[in-house]
Amino acid sequence: MSLELVPHPRCQRGLRWTLILPEPAPAQAAITAGLERWFPEAVVGFERWGTRRVDRLIVQFRVEFRVGERPGDIGLLFRSCCAEPDRELIRARLFAGLAEWG
């Protein structure tokens, strides 16, 4: 699976990234379920943006994943107190999980 992790255009000095999944991207529910498996310590919730549902998975004081903001994207919002070595570990866990999907 070819993956592209790009800084948000206004990433606030590295806090905000977007992981773009290749087409055809898995369904939103499958992405969220995958993240729950790979980050079982995450607190899971969601928001309604009008008719759109955005799933939020929060690994406290480290990172928040948002699924459903835009189709085929996973938003990553690192917490400011999550140091770069920790961010690297999180990216590695995420990529290892996604690799399960081939």
């Binding site: 255009p9 000095r13 928001e47 400011s80």
Partner: protein
């Protein structure tokens, strides 16, 4: 999550699209505006604005915490310190560690700080001065209220701020020799207008009620580390009276130097920067795409859609009366600058001798610049170059405040015209 355990007073809706927390009016503003307004009022160090900023934070926080303590029926210092920590995080200011505080003061830490950490991404270069004056004032209020001390009981020493490279914010509160002094008490909501907002225009495809309902489903509380990342910026749900106090005091001190017009223009510039970054960030966001974009068929619809969002920010009730590429007329009921001015200075029927809605004026210029000069509909990068081409003073649009609630009119009116 941490915020699930926060115990807070209720947020109340008052006036026209205004909100208070334990009687203190709140407005949303982002790290860009927080940088620009603070940068502006501190431009001339000889004006002595640092104590004004710190005192404004202390007075607003004191009002919130005193009324919040009463509203929640809290007893004892620990409960008040906990309330202070929770409010600080909920409103997006960061994490406040008051565990070493006593009636004599003590060391306060801010391991996460909006002012210490997020203003850097709004500016180029490095800070020569600490940015965490607000944190100092808030903490001073927290400890004073917790131990039932007078306002101004503490002075700050040995400050370390993340904006200048410290690992965490840290400062020491020390009892002020000779007792406290409170030169300026926060006036709470101030004086609301009596005018009734105009009806919404019917020649737009946007539905403000639907937009406001959708926005009410979004989480605007501070996350577990006390920050509010949203719309590509870092928001705070801040004290309206804090902005009012530092703006008006800056104007007053500049008036004394004979540079009143320049001072007002600088505050309008801060408003343009706010609009460019916050409105721009909102109009490029996934939230906009999901909720509002589908309602927009014309550039004017984008303006109406953005004004609907503004009406969720606590700034007052905005209505577009006229709009095209050449000019716009926007009226604002209960704009927070006017209500704050009247609350602070409007005793015995006194009215302002000049309009005071600098943020609203700059915001209206920025909105027009983004839509008609900046091509926001096409999704541009919000960089400094685009700002200079579309929104900067003297380039895009210029706003005159043709009516002012602070001067006795029923609403504030903004006439925004294109610069040819």
């Amino acid at each position: 999550m941490d915020e699930l355990t926060r115990r807070l007073p209720a947020i109340d809706g008052v006036g026209q699209q205004r909100a208070t927390l334990a009687g203190e009016p709140l407005v949303f503003h982002c790290n860009h505006y927080n940088y620009w307004i603070q940068h502006t009022v501190r431009l001339d160090a000889s004006l002595g604005m640092d104590p004004v900023i710190r005192d404004a934070a202390e007075s607003c926080a004191r009002g919130l915490l005193e009324r919040g303590r009463s509203e929640l029926g809290l007893r004892g210092p620990d409960a008040v310190l906990s309330l202070a920590r929770d409010c600080f995080a909920e409103l997006g200011f960061g994490m406040l560690d008051l565990s070493k505080a006593s009636a004599e003061g003590g060391v306060v830490r801010t391991p996460v700080s909006h002012y210490g950490q997020t203003l850097a991404s709004a500016c180029s270069g490095h800070f020569e001065r600490d940015q965490n004056l607000f944190d100092q004032g808030f903490a001073a209020a927290a400890v004073a209220v917790a131990f039932e001390l007078e306002a101004g009981a503490f002075e700050v020493r040995n400050n370390r701020c993340m904006s200048r490279g410290a690992d965490a914010g840290e400062f020491e509160l020390v009892r002020r020799a000779g007792g406290g002094a409170s030169p300026w008490p926060s006036p709470g909501i101030g004086v609301l207008g009596e005018g009734v907002p105009a009806a919404r225009r019917e020649d737009t495809h946007t539905d403000e009620g639907e937009i406001l309902a959708a926005l009410s489903g979004l989480d605007f509380s501070g996350n577990e580390e006390g920050l509010i990342p949203r719309f590509g910026v870092i928001l705070t749900r801040h004290f309206a009276n804090f902005y009012d106090r530092i703006s008006f005091e800056f104007v007053e001190r500049m008036r004394g130097s004979g540079m009143l017009d320049e001072a007002e223009e600088l505050l309008v510039e801060a408003g343009r920067r706010c609009a460019y970054n916050t409105f721009g960030g909102i109009m490029l966001s996934g939230e906009w795409d999901a909720v509002i974009r589908s309602q927009c068929q014309t550039r004017e619809d984008w303006a109406h859609g953005m004004v609907a969002v503004i009406n969720a920010l606590g700034w007052g009730c905005w209505r577009i009366i006229e709009i095209d590429e050449r000019r716009a007329v926007i009226r604002v009921w209960d704009d927070y600058e006017s209500t704050g001015w009247l609350g602070m200075y409007g005793g015995e029927g006194r009215r302002a001798d000049r309009p005071v809605s600098y943020l609203a004026a700059g915001g209206a210029e920025g909105l027009m610049g983004l839509i008609y000069r900046g091509g926001i509909i096409d999704g541009p990068a919000l960089d400094e170059g685009l700002y200079q081409r579309s929104c900067q003073g003297g380039v895009g649009y210029v706003c005159r405040q043709t009516r002012s609630l602070a001067q006795g009119d029923p609403y504030t009116e903004l006439l925004v015209e294109a610069i040819e």
